[in-house]
Symmetry: C3
């Protein structure tokens, strides 16, 4: 199934490219923090960049774009390079804006690609929300698992929540407006919610 | 591929619904035990409920039903709600019947759905056994991984064994009897074996 | 999609059989080292043997061969049996040639199957390299995750590197030579690089 099926080349390709660069950067930074050597850093960066989208594509039954196109790979390596450069400047970046900001951008961008693909493959409204969430949190969760950490999606409640809400917003806007409106709104909402959650340290109650 | 391909609507849908509620409840209880906040509990419950079936569907190459239907989601949220209510009553439930019983029920129900799907997609006899096992233990294993615990499937040998045996029993009965006999026998055997293993603390020898 | 689509029965089936036996043996040895009981050892062995190939098949959208054929299962159980026998002789095998050698063989054999499948399904050149790497490191990484260890792919840089290089070599040779040349060269290169890396303790720089 081609990009053309994803409701217009524009929205998907832009969100996908932004998400790949942002998450590859996040993965590389996490890897450097974990004292991985250069190859481990590259591997973790690429996995973080490709993980969510590959899961999304496998769930709807198509070969991950990352295996078919070479551009995706270029974006991932660009992100890894950025991560390496930033880490050399900033040093350990745990909870540093240098990693939180691109992570929020990747979350927003990939949540949108998940909603786009879900809509294109005719999944249920909740399926769109689910795919947006899975695609958004997938890469970072896989990276955390590889580093044997409890994934951020379980540690921080306002990590999956923005992607979840963004997916719902995408679906709603998609009922009434033409591309790229749904994608733009989704990205904006996820990014805003995630950054506000970080700034105001939002939390949900525990039992 | 539709439910119709799964050897009759009845057996699959019943086993699937039971498994979703039971495993969502188990996931929510595990999440509450791990001090996750409400959203983390919901996420873990939904992942535990959907994990095994999504793996099963991806392996046979169809879009997970959980992305296509809204009923699956309703069952998962019902299970999460039950888990939250129970946890409020019982408190920490590690190794408590409140979690072991629904876990055994989910194991039995999902093992049956794995065998049903495997048979419908014409995998090999051992493929049926494998799909029953993977579908049965998948959700709980993913939940354990997300909490960075060695999955119960590796810690307790009579967790995967019942699902394994149940898959074989399903295949055998399916050669001689019509639905819902294979499903009913499979569920009964898995549930009985799992509960007996828990009651008598069955163990296999180590090397 | 049949084996016939994999560029000739010979290369894929041979590499696949060798990889299954080798990785099942590695998984069983890792499981014994981790004090798993017999069933856990079998489960970990089978998962290590099937993990990489199943991921490879799911990524290109076909039902994993391990679910369709019974021969794959036989090879996996043969490997587990070998692992059990060796462990009884050698005892704890962490970093012992008894586990490092079959692991290198499995890495080389599965990297080749990944490249073969990628080529047969017309993925991009980098997609071939990626599939070779994922298929090669997949089984061991899943086994490590199940034991909640940071996967060897992140701990040792010359684990994924040989598979990565092997995939590139396969693609290059495949442009100019007929089967089984690409497979043979790929296996040889991966095995040589991995063993040399182990012997000379190769490492890449950290940041």
């Amino acid at each position: 199934m081609g990009i053309a099926a994803l409701g217009g080349v524009g929205p998907f390709e832009v969100a996908n490219a932004v998400g790949l660069v942002a998450f590859a950067m996040v993965g590389a930074l996490k890897g450097a923090d974990a004292d991985l050597d250069l190859f481990g850093i590259v591997v973790l960066g690429v996995i973080t960049a490709f993980g969510g989208g590959a899961t999304r594509d496998v769930l709807v039954g198509r070969i991950p774009a990352s295996l078919l196109t070479t551009t995706d790979v270029a974006f991932a390596f660009l992100g890894v390079a950025l991560g390496v450069v930033v880490w050399r400047r900033v040093g350990p970046v745990l909870d540093h804006p240098a990693v939180l900001l691109p992570d929020a951008v990747g979350l927003a961008a990939f949540a949108a690609t998940g909603a786009l693909v879900g809509t294109a493959f005719g999944v249920s409204p909740f399926g769109v929300v689910l795919l947006a969430t899975i695609t958004g949190v997938g890469g970072g969760s896989i990276a955390d698992l590889l580093l044997t950490r409890v994934p951020i999606v379980l540690r921080e409640d306002f990590y999956a929540t923005p992607a979840f809400v963004g997916g719902a917003v995408f679906w709603a806007v998609d009922q009434v407006a033409a591309p790229p409106a749904p994608t733009a709104t989704c990205v904006g909402v996820v990014l805003a919610l995630r950054l506000l959650a970080l700034h105001y340290d939002w939390e949900l109650p525990t039992l």
